[in-house]
Amino acid sequence: MAPALALYRTSVGKKVVMALTGLILVGFVVAHMLGNLKVFTGGEHLNEYAEFLRTVGAPALPYGMALWIARIVLLVSVVLHIVAATQLTLQDRAGRPQRYAYHKKQAATYASLTMRWGGVIILLFVIYHILHFTTGTAHQNYIHGDVYHNVVSGFQVWYVSVIYIIAMVALGAHLYHGVWSMFQTLGLNNQTWNGVLRGIAVLTALAVVIGNIALPVAVLAGFLT
């Protein structure tokens, strides 16, 4: 515990916390995206998969336990990620109290400059997403347990689909810089590997965006009913 606390005390260490929690969240997002793709193999498959997530680990684990463990890990990761990001952002703001009258960027990408607001958008989206598909609170036609129905009927509302697509683009941008930044923070970057690591970041971001956007697009296009 002592090294972890020592690490967290420095800006470099906080960044490591963001990288490691980011890694967990990226893993989740990718897995989630792969799970989503089951929608294209038919409603029964998707519902079975949803049920599997609750029964995984049985009989050693009681019903839904694995899912809750995963949710707790994710929740802790999200909280740490956000707390560290907030602390670091405040440090940065204090680092330059007086702004430039005129400031140009040369190397920064759109993605790298929008990590903070992108993060906020993703957080708001996640809350909406849970209310929409997990609790059904924000869903007009929610049937508990029928994931396929909820997905298709949810996305049939066009502006809901638009919200999801926008959120996925924001997530993609966040991943594009975040994954590469994670490698840099963990000290993996060097001249030999930079190309490969950049490639992994791009592929991850593209896969998540395309994989996830495929759902609302397919629903709106009438492929899924």
Binding site: D92, G95, Q184
Partner: protein, 248 residues
């Protein structure tokens, strides 16, 4: 050529400052940027006004004294060029040029365009050295250093501590500066005994000076007149992680 300048004027560390407009007239394109400011200053002196204070010394791109945000870019528009080696031929007749000091709470403005970069010295004092008192060194060739390690160390050691990395960073982070010294010494066999202590102490000092953190955006490397690579920041991160985890 003629250019219009908007220059940050601030009487001293405690006074508020503002942008003031000046005209620089009949400037030869072969004039360096600082010589252009010299000529503006000569006119100010002729009018009995206080000339613009700016830091400069060697005027050949190596001492790291000169600074200036020029049209929003640290050391101006040319890559791998310090302000003192920037020439007016990089601008067009009639251009408007904004000149501001480095902005960071760790680099307080002392007057006009002059800032205090003492934070960098304190970072080095916290561990950016190899402890070898004069006279105690072994014969120079007794420790071979692989050429690639030595060349890479030299890449890092090229830093001139001008502060452009901090100035260009949206977070005012000093990671590139700190990383360059940590990396140089970590790459050499001579630097091994103090390797872990050095990175921990230097990062702690860097944080305590009030710099921002690194969001891996890369403005620092692009602005760096010596083109120090961001890979050294990855190296610092690695060194720091290893040192923290293995610390007793």
């Amino acid at each position: 050529m003629n250019v219009t300048l908007h220059v940050w004027r601030q009487k001293n560390a405690t006074s508020p400052g503002k942008m003031v407009k000046y005209e620089a007239k009949n400037i030869s394109p072969d004039t360096s940027f600082l010589e252009m400011l010299d000529s503006v200053n000569q006119e100010l002196i002729a009018r009995d006004e206080d000339p613009i204070a700016f830091d400069h010394d060697c005027r050949e791109g190596i001492c790291g004294t000169c600074s200036l945000m020029i049209n929003g870019l640290a050391h101006g528009p040319e890559r791998a060029t310090t302000t003192c080696q920037l020439h007016m031929r990089s601008f067009k007749d009639g251009d408007t040029i904004y000149i501001e000091p480095w902005r960071a709470s760790a680099f307080p403005v002392l007057k006009d365009l002059v800032v205090d970069r003492g934070a960098f010295d304190r970072i080095i004092a916290s561990g950016g050295y190899i402890s070898v008192s004069t006279g105690s060194a072994p014969e120079a060739n007794s420790v071979p250093v692989p050429k690639d390690a030595s060349d890479l160390a030299m890449d890092a050691a090229a830093c001139i501590a001008c502060g452009a990395c901090v100035a260009a960073c949206p977070n005012a982070s000093a990671m590139l500066f700190t990383a360059a010294k940590v990396s140089q010494l970590a790459l050499l066999p001579q630097g091994q005994p103090e390797r872990q202590r050095r990175v921990l102490d230097m990062v702690r000092q860097m944080d305590s000076e009030g710099f921002g953190h690194c969001t891996n955006i890369g403005e620092c490397s692009t602005a760096c007149p010596k083109e120090i690579s961001m890979d050294f920041i990855a190296m610092l991160n690695r060194e720091h992680l290893k040192a923290t985890l293995s610390k007793k």
